[in-house]
Symmetry: C2
Subunit: 326 residues, 2 copies
């Protein structure tokens, strides 16, 4: 059994717990938290609850720690510090800082003789894999990524900070006409506005000026100004009843040409997810298996999904894989 620890028990942490349940070669042995461990209610029996300050007390009991903290402030510190004592998986997704983060995890992991697989999930993660495979095959071509329809936590948070807003949720919606144009193989140049819509469902405080809220959202730089944005005011009850799930998904499409006669090809990968955190966690858990196996082989250092041979993710043996699904 591969012994899994979870560091940070939020949506992703709970998702990892649920994913481990479905993988019979793994078991969850510990949840590490910054809260009072007694206050954390986990779903699994016989799991140690340990404060982050006492994480080293788990040495020898956990094969892979799955880091479920946020990319903004948690992981840059937690990644290098946990990998100094445990194999780790994380879903670091601050794109601009990946090179620096990789270098920090790599240095700590090499010194400790551990493995740290960074930026695992669906984007970065499965979408990245589809970009690399598609670009390696269709050397001349264009790759497009569309997200949604799904909830963007960052955009929902931004709306909640607008004065007069009590609660809100934001859906990123790919524009079907743009997706179809990409699929046609015409390799269009698309602006930000042409690719995605932003749909906002907002609960206003009593007496708030709705026109001002709408205007503030729609003109917010970085988040909404470059998009066509719709704002719909709803009640707190409607929000709870119709918008409490966390669906997401998207498309990676590459089109390109081969040969001398202009033969065109379309490679498309898509996800349609009822629960973004549960799916992300399922990817994390598969890569935990790979980290365990690499560490068993004596490898060390940081890795991304690009460095991991697919066979390392599967419960099946190489013989089974060749026989059953090759």
């Amino acid at each position: 059994m591969i012994r899994i620890g979870i560091v940070g028990y939020g949506n992703i942490g709970r998702g990892v717990e649920l994913a481990v349940e479905r993988n019979e070669d793994m078991k969850l042995v510990a949840v590490v938290t910054r809260r009072n461990p007694e206050d954390v209610k986990v779903l699994t029996d016989d799991v140690k609850k340990v404060h982050l300050d006492d994480i080293l007390s788990l040495k020898g009991e956990v094969d892979v720690m799955i880091l479920c903290g946020g990319s903004a402030t948690d992981l840059p510190v937690m990644g290098p510090s946990v990998v100094a004592n445990y194999n780790t998986i994380d879903s670091f997704d601050t794109h601009a800082k990946i090179p620096e983060y990789f270098a920090n995890v790599d240095a700590a992991a090499k010194e400790a003789g551990t493995i740290g697989i960074i930026s695992v999930g669906w984007d970065p993660g499965m979408f990245s894999l589809n970009r690399i495979y598609a670009e390696s095959i269709l050397v001349q071509g264009s790759t497009y990524t569309f997200w949604g329809k799904g909830v963007s936590q960052g955009h929902s948070d931004a709306i909640r900070r607008v004065p007069g807003v009590k609660n809100a949720i934001q859906y990123t919606v790919p524009i079907e006409a743009a997706v179809e144009e990409v699929r046609s193989g015409s390799e269009p140049q698309l602006t930000t506005r042409q690719k995605h819509l932003r749909e906002c469902y907002v609960v206003a405080e009593e007496g708030a000026d709705l026109a001002i809220i709408e205007e503030t959202i729609k003109t917010m730089p970085n988040y909404f100004a470059d998009y066509d944005t719709t704002v719909t005011f709803i009640t707190e009850e409607e929000l709870k009843a119709n918008h409490s799930k966390m669906p997401h998904g998207g498309f990676v499409i590459r089109t390109g040409e081969t040969g001398r006669d202009g033969n065109k090809h379309v490679i498309e990968y898509s996800l349609k997810l009822d629960s973004n955190p549960e799916f992300t966690s399922s990817v994390l858990v598969a890569y935990a298996r790979a980290a365990y196996r690499l560490a068993e082989k004596g490898e060390s250092g940081a890795r991304s999904v690009f460095d991991i041979a697919p066979a390392l993710l599967s419960m099946k043996t190489s013989e089974q894989l060749r026989k059953e699904i090759l």
Copy 2:
């Protein structure tokens, strides 16, 4: 530059030649053939044309031989024999014989200190990769593969053997209703007949009994009897004008559940290809890069796509990949 040799110059061999042109870190140095080498007209200048009997004359000049023979009789012999002297890539696709073929290539490659990557292309190949990734993430679920719309060479050949048939082409067509049912996440049990149609375009010999030809095709065991099949008689001119391309494609779809609340997910990968041989060849060439790199690291033995880390396929460095597409 990675020096490529092609063994067998048919549709796939020519596709490899065209794909090498589009990869600036490679060059085609030799075409190996069973025909009289003088009679083989290649598209590239300065390429050696060598008879298969003289293949060893290329030692030291070719880094990777791409084997473009057929799976039925060519590759079972050619695979182990060429890998005894060169790194190889092939598209072996006789599914039931993959374990045996892998073992034979593995033994020869290990003895020679070479790498042989077998069963590369889109199915087996890219479709296999999507099966393994999707199954490793959604541990509980169902995977479906649909092929087409595209030309099946084997089925076209089977029709051409029917008495009274002068020429023919057969398209495998996925049934849209079945694809939609799979996408819904209902995990249906589908019969062979429910998944694909077979469309046949047949040129009959003058005076042949069309009713008998149609009946013979539709009742042919293994090839057509288990499918809904349409037979359309056309002229040789129509065949040439409308059916001389080799398009293909298909879908791999996995649906499954995570967590305890029945959250469902759909992972879908699809290809739409103007030219089956040119796309297959483009995949072969990307894996030739991986074979070259593994051999440079001193690895040896047989591999499948499951064993190859994606980064090995790309012209980009690991740093570039993390920065640009992770």
